[in-house]
């Protein structure tokens, strides 16, 4: 686990430092900007799907689904970040406690 943490942290730092040491025009191209905006959206969305609908290597429908849907509703109602997370956790915990979904 430690090598993974240290290598990934080193890479993250390298990416941050790069913009300070390399001339601006090398990195600041329109195409690079578009790709960089898309990367986090695409990767995080993929992770949302996996963390909501997949367990191990199986597609599942459990108490996480109503939790994340509740988070979506909270976001539509412009709830602040922390409220969104608490709502999701509370709904999932509630559904689980009531035994409606695993």
């Amino acid at each position: 686990m430690w090598p993974t943490i240290l290598i990934a942290s080193g890479a993250a730092y390298g990416l941050k430092l790069l913009g300070y040491v390399v001339p601006e025009k090398w990195l600041d191209t329109p195409f690079a900007r578009r790709i960089t905006v898309l990367i986090p959206i695409a990767l995080l969305s993929a992770l949302i799907g996996l963390w909501t609908l997949v367990s191990g290597s199986q597609i599942t429908f459990d108490a996480r689904v109503p939790g994340v849907l509740a988070a979506l509703v909270a976001l539509l109602l412009r709830a602040p970040f922390l409220v969104v997370i608490i709502v999701a956790a509370a709904v999932t915990a509630g559904v689980r406690t009531l035994g409606w979904l695993p």
Binding site: L17, T36, A46, S57
Partner: protein, 230 residues
């Protein structure tokens, strides 16, 4: 000279952002420990990697049983946006030596967003950057420690719905960007592809392939970010 008021307002904003991030750090700490990391490993991520979305992605891949290579690639790809933040910050901060090394570590979504918000005045932009960076670094790490240590006292974190907190946090993180339909399609296609591929591929690969599919869709549809980068 009425120099103190705007400065105080900037520092106040920085503290508010720091407190929000600190609360978010608690959920990171708890989830990282629930994913199998030790308290020290969790803390190392917040101290050394210090870029929230990548940290969450790393533990997400580890929790789903993905290989180290996939975990590192996913976290690193998500961190590429920080390079563009540092490109934007370099002419504002004009730092050299040790301060440059420090500025680099603290160049993240929030510090850049705050600085860019005060771009018209360089001294205000610098204050916004440094105060936000320090507030977030301190409180994010305190939050992480609290969550990581606290998780040890809880027998089954899923009982508290913590497993739904992570995807909810991701959703909240990308939410401000989902203002146009092309961008929403990027999210929908990535999410759907990852889920559909999950039963057939080893853990971690669905993330990278789904990410590639989403990026391709975004390029075809011409998805763009809303005005300010943050």
């Amino acid at each position: 000279m009425k120099g103190t008021d705007p400065r105080r307002a900037i520092i106040g904003d920085a503290l508010a952002i720091g407190i929000g991030t600190g609360a978010y750090g608690i959920s990171f700490g708890a989830l990282a420990v629930a994913s199998g990391l030790s308290v020290w490993q969790t803390q190392a991520l917040s101290l050394l990697m210090f870029t929230g979305a990548s940290q969450f992605a790393l533990i997400a891949v580890i929790a789903s049983g993905g290989s180290a290579l996939v975990a590192i690639s996913t976290a690193t790809l998500i961190g590429t946006r920080n390079t563009f933040y540092s490109v934007a910050m370099a002419p504002i901060l004009r730092v050299r030596g040790l301060r440059r090394l420090l500025a680099a570590q603290w160049t993240i979504d929030e510090s850049t967003g705050m600085a860019v918000g005060h771009e018209d005045r360089r001294d205000a932009a610098r204050l916004a950057f440094w105060s936000t960076a320090i507030a977030i670094y301190v409180l994010w790490n305190l939050g992480t420690l609290l969550g990581a240590v606290g998780a040890g006292f809880i027998e089954d974190p899923n009982m508290f719905g913590l497993d739904a907190a992570a995807p909810a946090a991701f959703l909240a993180l990308i939410w401000p960007r989902l203002t146009s339909w092309p961008m929403r399609w990027v999210a929908i296609v990535s999410l759907g592809t990852a889920v559909v591929l999950a039963p057939f591929l080893s853990a971690g690969l669905p993330v990278l392939l789904a990410g590639a599919a989403g990026i391709a869709v975004g390029l075809v549809l011409g998805a763009r970010a809303p005005e300010v980068e943050r």
